[in-house]
Structures are given as structure tokens and as C-alpha cells.
């Protein structure tokens, strides 16, 4: 069992996400993370889905996804060199001077940005792979995380290669 990052190019139409997500749940495939948004082609969107499963399961996931009429292309980025990123916004308690200073120091080490400063809280923005964000979250927990939101993972192939509609 391992995580696979799938890049799915779809028609930018109403209901496409629900077709993809519905097929996953109906066939018992687990989505670990999902991110969707417009891409370089005007009428297409790109969905990045992280699924967990052995090779047979992932092969079925890809084939079943490909069968959806609105899906243009499915690629498994895990098998190739790729860059993967997530973004998190973390609202952390920072009521005292010393803790505030420590948090800022941690943020600096993680190259997180402070995007909001309140009298009792700081909001940090951090990007990176899953483990980096997990590590930051763990460190900040001692100060009290008030709220946390993470995007799904997005990914691109390294180098000149692209995941394009070949059709």
C-alpha cells in the first residue's frame, strides 16, 4: 500500500468533480487529498488526487476515472519525478511575548510567512510537502493551534514533460 498522486485533466463543466468523487466513493477508493482548479487550458480543469492502494487498486482507479466521459487524461505522477506541494494556514495562539518570539523563529526556519497578526493570535502560511507541514503543525501544537486549514496536494512533473491531453 502506498500513496499515489494522480493528475486528472477534466472538462471544466458543472458536475465534473461530483462525477469523479462519486465514482471514487462508489467503488470504495479512498481519497487522501484532493485539489481542483483551472489549468493552462481554458476549458479544462486539473484535479490532483492522492489515493492509497496497491498497484492493482490504483490501476483500477485510473481506468475507472478514465472511463468518465468528462475526464480527458489521467496520469500517475508517483512513478515519475515530480514536485508536490500543499499549502496550510495555521492560526496559532500567541498571547505572550516569549511565545510570540518562539513562533516567529519557528516560522522563519520553516520559511512560513506571517499573514495576519492579532493581539492574541498569529496566522502562518506555509507551503511544502506533506511531511514539512506535518512537522510544523507538530511544533506549533504546544502554543495552541486555534484553527488550521490545508489544501489538497498539487503536483507537476519535473523538467519539460507535461501531463497534456494527448487526444
Amino acid at each position: 500500500m502506498k500513496s499515489h498522486t494522480l493528475s486528472v485533466l477534466v472538462e471544466n463543466r458543472a458536475g465534473v468533480l461530483s462525477r469523479v468523487a462519486g465514482m471514487f466513493s462508489r467503488r470504495g477508493f479512498n481519497i487522501e487529498s484532493l485539489a481542483v482548479g483551472p489549468c493552462e487550458e481554458p476549458n479544462m480543469s486539473r484535479i490532483t488526487i492522492v489515493v492509497n492502494g496497491d498497484d492493482g487498486v490504483v490501476e483500477q482507479v485510473m481506468k475507472q476515472t478514465n472511463k468518465l466521459i468528462d475526464v480527458i487524461k489521467v496520469s500517475d505522477l508517483t512513478k515519475r519525478e515530480s514536485v508536490e506541494r500543499e499549502l496550510a494556514l495555521i492560526k496559532v495562539a500567541a498571547e505572550t511575548g516569549p511565545s510570540r518570539a518562539e513562533i516567529l523563529q519557528i516560522a522563519d526556519i520553516f520559511r512560513a510567512q506571517v499573514v495576519d497578526v492579532g493581539s492574541k493570535t498569529l496566522v502562518l502560511q506555509v507551503t511544502g510537502d506533506t511531511s514539512k507541514i506535518d512537522a510544523l503543525e507538530k511544533l506549533l501544537r504546544q502554543y495552541g493551534i486555534k484553527e488550521l486549514v490545508r489544501t489538497g496536494k498539487i503536483a507537476l512533473l519535473r523538467g519539460p514533460k507535461t501531463v497534456k491531453s494527448s487526444k
Binding site: G15, G22, Q60, I69
Partner: protein, 558 residues
């Protein structure tokens, strides 16, 4: 300028639609108004479920796309079982539904249901049309998607203001459908085909396992030529019956849970399994680990997702079965020596024929045998679901493709009678017989109204055992004969038929079976035959759930 409804009718005509099965209602009034004087024939059913099954039966009998029409909300929801039935068996159906006006969508309006959401898991694709200007394109795409690749149902939802909306006349209709996310593969990969042919040439005990894909792709002639040229025995699934003549010397009959002993033994003993247009369904394989345990597997299917889904495959070939078999025939250079294997199979066939108690009781298998003997394969036989279906599959000799219509994947009781109506409109030249149980028939018995109104010459053969027979059989075998809610009180089906203006006959004696069937077939209109059969007859052979398919019960012992 013309209305969306007018545009719809013209688009359907362009697709060659001659018959629609439907039921009117509020938001489809504009469409019905256009149908009123259109050249398309509309058959008014008595329940929308029957419209979907009739469209499905029409498609299975003809090979063309079947069309049904219902109003929004309850009308659309009533189609769902029929759509799911078509989906499971890969049947090309276009379901048209009315919808509340676009301005009320999502508003819980009167008779609103999110039918595109509801049918997403049971359609190949579906559309909610929000602009009358899209009707031409959507209808064209819907028919294209339904009938190409692995066929399946497509639903088109039409809000009332789209039907009444205006479309400019003379807008060009695209000549060809082009969908960048949908490009089925028809030609098999030649290198894979050659690899398969090498395995075939070297196999001592090859077996063809053929299914509904052969019927859908119209590949019966190619399949027959292939098995005859290569001298390979063939077994078919429930959906594949008729792909090869039932009385062909190389045909072993059906395999699986209620397969023949020889077919199931052959699967277990074969060293090469050539799976053609099948999906290794659990009712076929039994315990998957012990299915064809000694065999290399070649799998031909148009749907890549079916290959390797349930069973590991050695040579996958994605393509249309007909095209792939044609390439097989073109490139096949030598065949293996299968003489010993064929002899062994013939010995099994002789040793383990199908059989039942041939006393003077009226037994259901006898009724099916008589029907088979009278029709001689020259009719369309439809079934309901349960024992009636399995007895028909086992004891009727199907000789041609598209003469056997049954709900395989979904197993929908109540399917047969409306599907038979659809089959009649597809093939008015053929007698159409629905073999039913008393339970299944009562699930869509209201269609007696339809067959009476249009004088549809469908003959219903009820194998009436006053039980939900297949469930009772499982209760007898696996639940200590505790017949929990499976007994049905007697019903006078002849009287019910008569009340609708349909002729009927009740038969209690074995001696009256043949004459009754002949009388029904000789009658011009619809006919209901109520055979009061032996009540606790079972369907054998049978593979208990989860067992290997060579571990059958109710069989002659080896």
C-alpha cells in the same frame, strides 16, 4: 424559430428513432405536444419503470438505441431501476426526462428531483440541458455515447423552459461527434493478438468463455468461425446465450452458479481460458481464487477497466470483440491439437446431461423444453428473474444472438414483461415470449394494460409455483426450510388478464402444456399462460455461494 421540444423531436428523428416508450406529465407537456403529430410512435406504458425496460428490450432485440421518456420527479425516479438494469448489462438506452424550469432548479419545486445526480452511478453519462440551443448537440452526443464503445444508458434531463425555449432554425448540426475525453479503442493490439495466438496454438486444453460482449458487438459469426477453425470448446455466460448455437457440438452451455457440469468442469480443467466480452462476474466465477486455476488467461474486452478487475490476465486485449476476432482469424496460422480435450469434454457432456424428474407431474423445466421444441430458436424469449430465468437459460436451446433477453447483472424482477413489449417493437416479425414467475410477473403486471391497448402479441408463460421460488430454494438449502415471506397466495392470472381484455389459459396438467403454448402462439394478440407447476422444484446444478464452480450440488456425481 422553433421550440426546444420541436428541436428535440427533430434531433431524435435524425438519430433514426422510430419508437419511444413513455409516460406523460407536467413538465414534458411541450414534448408530448410535439409527439402528438410526429412520425415517431409513442407507446404509453402504465408505469415509467416499464418504459425504461421496454426501451432496453427494444435495444437488446434490435441492436439499436432504445428510447424512453418520463416526466420530472416521480416519473424520472421510476426510470431508475430500468436505467440501472441497462447499465449493468451494457445496453444502449437514451432516457429523456422532463425537469422543472431552470429558474426553480435546486428549489425543491413541485415534482423536482435531481435526476442527473441520482443516475450518475447508473448511467454511462448524463446531461442536464440548460439552454435550448444545446439540444441538438446533446442529443447527438447522448446517442453516440450510448451506442459506441462499451454501450450503456445515457440520460438527458430537459427543464420545461428549455423545451419551450426558442432555437434558431437552420443551425448547422455537427456532422461527427467529437469528445476529447471519450475515444474507445476498437482494434486490438496486434502484438497482443499474436501473443494470444501463440498461446492458442500451444494449448492442449483451451476453452472459450464468451459473454454479452459477443452479442453487443455482433460477433457471433466470427466467434463461431474461430472456435470451429481452432477446434476449441466454448461455454457462454447467461448474457452470452445465443452467441453460439445451443446445440453446436463445441458448445458446453452456460457456466457459473447454475452452469452445466461439463462447462464448470471444463473451466476448472482448462489450460487456456479465452475470455471474450465477459467481466468475470461473481455469479460466473464462484470463488475467484479457484476459477480456472490451471489456465493462462486471454481477455478480450472493449472496456479496459474490466481487464484485470477480478482476475489476473496473461494477455489483455482491449478492443471490440468483433474486430479482434476478425484479426484472430486473419492472423491465425496454426491450431493446437485439441482432439483429446474435445473427446474428454464430449464424455462429460454424455455423462452429465441436464436432467430433472420426468414423471407425470407438471414441472417447469418441461414447460421450457416444450417452448423450445415449438419455437425451435425462431422467436425471442425474454425472462423475468429467478428460477424462471435459470430454467429458461438451461432448458431452452438458443440458436441465434439477440433472441434471449434477460436482466443479468442487476437481476431485476419485473423486467421481462415490459422488455418483451420493447422486443416486439424491435422485431415485429418474431414471436416474443416472456417466461415469468408468479412473483416477477406481479412486479409489472400493470403492463397488461399496455399490451391490451396496442394489441401487442407478447405471450406470457408463467411458471406459477406460488413462491418466490429462487429465494425459497435458498431457504430450503441454506436456511433449514424456513420459508420466511416467500410464499405467495394463489392468484387467478387468467381472470386478471381477462379483466384487461387479454386472453389467458390456466394449465394444471403436464399433458396440456404443448397445446396451450401452441394456442397462445397461434393467437393474434397478447396471451397469458398460467402453468401451475410443481411448487418446490429447484434449479440444479447449483454452486453454493463462495464455493468453487466445480463444487456443485444437485448433480449427478462423477
Amino acid at each position: 424559430m422553433k421550440t426546444g421540444a420541436r428541436t428535440l423531436i427533430e434531433a431524435l428523428q435524425r438519430e433514426g428513432v422510430d419508437t419511444i416508450f413513455g409516460y406523460p406529465g407536467g413538465v414534458v407537456l411541450p414534448i408530448y405536444d410535439e409527439l402528438y403529430d410526429s412520425s415517431i410512435r409513442h407507446i404509453l406504458v402504465r408505469h415509467e419503470q416499464a418504459a425504461a425496460h421496454a426501451a432496453d428490450g427494444y435495444a437488446r432485440a434490435s441492436g439499436r438505441v432504445g428510447v424512453c421518456l418520463a416526466t420530472s420527479g416521480p416519473g424520472a425516479c421510476n426510470l431508475v431501476t430500468g436505467i440501472a438494469t441497462a447499465y449493468m448489462d451494457s445496453i444502449p438506452v437514451v432516457a429523456l426526462t422532463g425537469q422543472v424550469p431552470t429558474g426553480l432548479l435546486g428549489n425543491d419545486a413541485f415534482q423536482e428531483s435531481d435526476i442527473t445526480g441520482i443516475t450518475m452511478p447508473v448511467t454511462k453519462h448524463n446531461y442536464l440541458v440548460k439552454d435550448a440551443g444545446d439540444i441538438d448537440r446533446v442529443v447527438q452526443e447522448a446517442f453516440y455515447v450510448a451506442r459506441t464503445g462499451r454501450p450503456g444508458p445515457v440520460l438527458v434531463d430537459l427543464p420545461k423552459d428549455v423545451s419551450t425555449g426558442v432555437v434558431q432554425e437552420g443551425r448547422p448540426v455537427p456532422e461527427k461527434v467529437s469528445l476529447r475525453g471519450y475515444q474507445p479503442t476498437y482494434q486490438g493490439h496486434v502484438r497482443q493478438i499474436d501473443k494470444a495466438l501463440d498461446l492458442i496454438a500451444g494449448a492442449a486444453r483451451p476453452l472459450v468463455y464468451a459473454g454479452g460482449g459477443v452479442i453487443l458487438s455482433g460477433a457471433s459469426a466470427e466467434l463461431l468461425e474461430f472456435v470451429e477453425t481452432a477446434a476449441i470448446p466454448v461455454t457462454t455466460t447467461l448474457m452470452g446465450l445465443g452467441a453460439v448455437p445451443g446445440d453446436h457440438p463445441l458448445n458446453l452451455g452456460m457456466l457459473g452458479m447454475h452452469g452445466t457440469q461439463s462447462a464448470n468442469y471444463a473451466v476448472t480443467e482448462c489450460d487456456l481460458l479465452i475470455a471474450v466480452g465477459v467481466r468475470f462476474d461473481d455469479r460466473v466465477t464462484g470463488k475467484i481464487e479457484t476459477f480456472a486455476p490451471n489456465a493462462a488467461v486471454i481477455h478480450i474486452d472493449i472496456d479496459p477497466a474490466e481487464i484485470g478487475k477480478n482476475k489476473a490476465v496473461d494477455v489483455p486485449i482491449v478492443g471490440d470483440v468483433k474486430a479482434v476476432l476478425q484479426t484472430f482469424l486473419r492472423r491465425m496460422q496454426k491450431r493446437g491439437d485439441t482432439a483429446n480435450w474435445v473427446a474428454r469434454i464430449n464424455a462429460w457432456k454424455a455423462q452429465y446431461p441436464l436432467g430433472y424428474c420426468e414423471d407425470d407431474h407438471l414441472r417447469p423445466q418441461y414447460v421450457v423444453e416444450q417452448l423450445s421444441d415449438i419455437l425451435k430458436g425462431e422467436g425471442i424469449v425474454v425472462s423475468e428473474v429467478g428460477q424462471n430465468q435459470m430454467w429458461t437459460a438451461l432448458y431452452y436451446c438458443f440458436k441465434k444472438p439477440r433472441t434471449w433477453i434477460t436482466s443479468g447483472g442487476l437481476g431485476t424482477m419485473g423486467y421481462g414483461f415490459p422488455a418483451a413489449i420493447g422486443a416486439h417493437y424491435a422485431r415485429p416479425d418474431m414471436p416474443v415470449v416472456d417466461v415469468a414467475g408468479d412473483g416477477s410477473f406481479q412486479m409489472n403486471i400493470q403492463e397488461l394494460g399496455t399490451v391490451a391497448q396496442y394489441e401487442i402479441p407478447v405471450k406470457v408463460v408463467i411458471l406459477n409455483n406460488m413462491y418466490l421460488g429462487m429465494v425459497r430454494q435458498w431457504q430450503e438449502l441454506f436456511y433449514d426450510r424456513r420459508y420466511s415471506y416467500t410464499e405467495l397466495p394463489p392468484v387467478d392470472f387468467v381472470k386478471i388478464a381477462n379483466a384487461y381484455g387479454v386472453e389467458g389459459l390456466r394449465v394444471d396438467e403436464k399433458a396440456g402444456v404443448r397445446e396451450a403454448i401452441e394456442t397462445a402462439l397461434a393467437t393474434d394478440g397478447p396471451f397469458v399462460l398460467d402453468f401451475r407447476v410443481e411448487r418446490e422444484e429447484n434449479v440444479f446444478p447449483m454452486v453454493p455461494a463462495g464455493a468453487a464452480i466445480n463444487e456443485m450440488i444437485g448433480v449427478r456425481q462423477p
